[in-house]
């Protein structure tokens, strides 16, 4: 029996392919194979002999079957290895092309701004861009014929024949949204209002359309000192620079009283702008305490409520933060610009994950 075992174990080891292996299996452990024939001889044996030979034959059958299985998998592995050896690809060739989309800096920065103010409890309000004369001017304490109006380079809409209302305008600022939001929600209120605004001006640094974000907070005891804190917190979070300092400077806006222009500390050393250091100041926004007339226009009692408002340019903030040189390029849709200054689709600014990557 040992000879039989040795014969087939050797044969399995020597088999070179699956066919040879199958032949061996039939010859050895098939129905008519040598092991089966030996099994048949068991009947002729004495019970004592059978008790010894039976288990041995079974063990032999198992051993040959396992050897065949092991050899089979070894052969398959070898065949696979051989195949894989021929399947070399030049992985440096380009992959299947995929389009890469992008988010415009205006959208990204608007989301950054609303993430910060959202954390401070400001909701996002909106309003129309074709605006009535009343919302854009009168309600904001800018009377007709006032020089402020003419200085705003307002775009006027054409009114239908026979319509005697003052012409609608393209909103020159996001401030009318203050009025709409207060009329809707009353006080107390905290909102920001980002969006497109329009002025008839086009040169190196002006485009006839740009973006502003308005901020409004009205409550019982909000002060200009609170305004300064909110703006400082905002600037530090937005520019991601802890040491940012702001300076308030008295100014005039019809819709706030007192009014302040707000400068940010910066340095121009070596021709590059650095925020939060240096001895220069750069104007970044206008702000102030909401004028009682404005509160009254929006149906809020100025004797019971007070608060602040501010407005800043989103495009300008984007330019400052991301070093984008030319405002006009924002609206040109040059693919190279969109790709260079744009943001990935899944790069969503959050307060927990940070605003920029």
């Amino acid at each position: 029996m040992d000879d039989l075992r040795q014969k087939y174990i050797d044969a399995v080891a020597a088999a070179s392919d699956e066919t040879a292996l199958e032949d061996i299996r039939v010859q050895a452990v098939g129905k008519k194979g040598e092991v089966a024939l030996k099994m048949r001889e068991l009947g002729k044996m004495t019970p004592e002999e059978r008790q010894v030979a039976g288990p041995k034959l079974n063990a032999l059958k198992d051993e040959i079957n396992s050897a065949i299985a092991a050899k089979k998998s070894a052969l398959a592995d070898a065949a696979l290895d051989e195949r894989l050896r021929t399947e070399w690809l030049d992985v440096t060739l380009p992959g299947r092309p995929q389009r890469q989309g992008s988010i415009h800096p205006i959208s990204q920065v608007t989301e950054e701004i609303s993430a910060i103010f959202g954390d401070m409890g400001f909701a996002v309000a909106e309003g129309p861009q074709v605006e009535s004369d009343w919302y854009n001017f009168d309600a904001l304490n800018i009377p007709a014929e006032h020089p402020t109006r003419t200085e705003m380079d307002t775009f006027y809409m054409t009114m239908p024949e026979g319509d005697n209302r003052p012409p609608h305008v393209l909103r020159t600022h996001t401030s009318p949204v203050q009025i709409r939001a207060m009329m809707d929600q009353g006080a107390p209120i905290r909102v920001i209002a980002p969006g497109r605004v329009y002025r008839a001006d086009y040169d190196q640094t002006h485009t006839p359309m740009f973006h502003q974000v308005e901020g409004l907070a009205i409550d019982k005891d909000i002060s200009m000192a609170n305004l300064k804190w909110v703006l400082e917190e905002f600037c530090r979070a937005f520019f991601e620079i802890d040491g940012i300092e702001l300076r308030f400077r008295a100014s005039h806006f019809p819709f706030t009283e007192p009014s302040a222009e707000v400068d940010i500390r910066c340095s121009w050393e070596g021709g590059t702008l650095k925020l939060g250091e240096g001895d220069d100041w750069m104007e970044i926004l206008g702000s102030g305490m909401v004028h009682p007339h404005v509160l009254k226009s929006a149906g809020v009692d100025p004797d019971a409520w007070q608060g602040f408002a501010f407005g800043m340019g989103i495009d300008r903030l984007a330019m400052l933060k991301y070093g984008i040189p030319d405002l006009r390029a924002f609206f040109d849709s040059d693919l190279r610009w969109l790709r260079h200054y744009g943001f990935a689709a899944l790069d969503v600014p959050t307060m927990r994950g940070g605003l920029s990557r």
Binding site: E131, P147, T158, E257, P258, D334, V348
Partner: protein, 798 residues
Amino acid sequence: MKFTISWLKDHLDTTASVDDIAEACTDLGLEVEGIFNPLDRLGAFTLAKVKSAEKHPDADRLRVCTVETNEGDKTIVCGAPNAREGITVVLAKPGDYVPGIDVTLSVGKIRGVESHGMMASERELELSDEHDGIIELPSGEVGEKFVDWLAANDPTKVDPVIEIAITPNRPDALGVRGIARDLAARGLGTLKPLKEHKVPGTGPSPINVTIDDDTKGDNPLFMGRLIKGVKNGPSPAWLQARLRAVGLRPISALVDITNFFTYDMNRPLHVFDADKVKGDLRVHRAKGGETLVGLDEKEYTFDPGMVVISDDEGIESIGGIMGGLPTGCTEETTNVFLEAAFWDTIQIARTGRALKINSDARYRNERGIDPEYNAPAIEAATQMILDLCGGEPSDVVVAGEVPDTSRAYKLDTDRVQSLVGMDIPADEQRATLTALGFTIKDGMAHVPSWRPDVQGPADLVEEVARVASLTKLVGKPMARAHVGVPKAILTPMQKREGMARRTVAALGYNECVTYSFIDEASAKRFGGGAGVTRLQNPISSEMSHMRPSLLPGLLQAAARNQARGFMDLALFEVGPVFHGGEPEEYEQMITGILVGHTGPRDRFGARRPVDTYDAKADVEAVLTAIGAPAKLTYVRDMNAWWHPGRSAKLGLGPKNILGAFGELHPKAIAEMDVKGPVVAFAVHLAKVPFPKAKGTGRGALGASDLQPVERDFAFVVDADVEAINLVNAAAGADKALIADVNVFDEFIGGSLGEGKKSLAITVRLQPRDATLTDKDIEAVSAKIVEKVGKATGGTLRG
């Protein structure tokens, strides 16, 4: 508004430095736009004396001078004809920057002789255009600073000029006195009292003035007087220097005097040449159509209602805006009629804008001058005319009366602190207002006549705050409105807009922001261009109409990019489109275009022209992302800019359209100069219904453990049968069992013959209760074939 420090010192007694004055101005709300300080440029130069001047050995025109300086004697080679022994000169040493020649000096050799500096001419120091020789000073010691000498002997030459921006609420600061008053309130000096003048008249004015009744509201006051026997001519040097320093051109003494008052006291005046005025002056409204040549030599035509001043021959002056050329003063004027009037600001603004005149007078009269200063102005100006030109004044004629602008507001000092958030003691608040000219009586602040902007208690707060200095304001934390985790702040629509935007960017589109206005032709091509969407005053014809669609802006962007060599594009925009000219007639849309091919050329042969089904996949992705129902109605009735056969709208029924997709009309693309094909999608973001139920539960997942079965069918149908009908019919065969029906092949023509096509679908059967038997499958298959046959006339392909 420009002023010089010496002019400021006429009104302000101060020792403050130029920098301190400038800083205070900015902080007070008079934003400094520029400082021009001659001291900065001339500070290095000192006086020196020429001890000897010998002819240069190698040059006839040069002299070798020995010059006594504060650093000992120096040799300087000089080419000036007046360089000679004994004169006192201005010395620039090696290392000094000489502004007029833009050179920093160094020791140089001139024809073999070393020269240690230079003796400067006036032009080289930018003091004047004088360059015939070097400066010779009549006095001065060796080593004295040149700027000190100038300050003592010729102060206008070193008078620093400050330019400030004046906000529209501060007409008083359009006069030097107003600026001085602000600085005094801030503590930078003391405001000098205004000199009072009273020049008695010597008889009635031969020229009388009347104001028409219908004009009095817009012109409450006119004062004037004749001064005869004046001698006009150039004004004195100090006056000319001042006017030049603030950017005005000296004209003649009489005109310069009016300009002086304009800048000194924010008090525009006018002078008529009395000999050219025929009869009396009458202030009235123009009938319309009259004309006048103004002092700027341009002809103006008046609208009815504009306020003008006429004599017997017609209109001679545009009240408060500009005088007329025919009655203007010249060097020959001997009799002058001086006018000081107070006009209605709105009337001035309206007339000035209509006539497009931007004069100093209009600028001030439309912002508001001091009505109480009208009579004093006549006296002060008369005095100045007498001083500079001589003459004999008449009595003052007066038409109308000084309007009463007196008013008072409660000063609530606690409220001031609460609004500003700064500790400003009540006494300090009152002192500030008093210094600004307010009178405080019984807690009420009476407003000075030169501050038309102060119209309520809030304005008092601003005055106190700006004088107290907002620079000193320290931020105070503002508590959150609610305790705890901040609530979500975006509205469902805002969230939706963001979701749609990032979905489309993830699909490979680049987001654009294009102008909300486009040219008329493009607006019309895409369904807009109505008159009410037109801007009255567009900045160019490319930006004249509010866009009716985002497509034209994106197509123009595509054309620009194609011109730069980028032919294959995926662009999108989220933004408003305008259906009319009323504020509410807009809607927020998202629109994308695919232009050219799917991608660059590749080895896989995957590049192909973009087609309708690309756009369809993308519109479906957007609609799914913002929560539109899966089953939408197709509407094939398309606007003209879509390809009629290769586009559709998707809606909740035919009336409620949510979006559209497909190929754009080849003509529309060609007209927009884009090389196609172009496919597009558009979604009306707000039209997709917002979820009603507020709750986060999803409902249970109905996943069966039983094996699903897929069966394929190929139907032959007429070529115009829409796949959706076939799919819906198949799906309707057994709604419980059929989980999904999908078209996986379309074959047109060939052996099927003309007008026929084959659509192959795969149907997925998902049993719920028991494994499907062959019999079950046959039964449902038969039903599918029957239903499809009934709905589409299709038969199983043999």
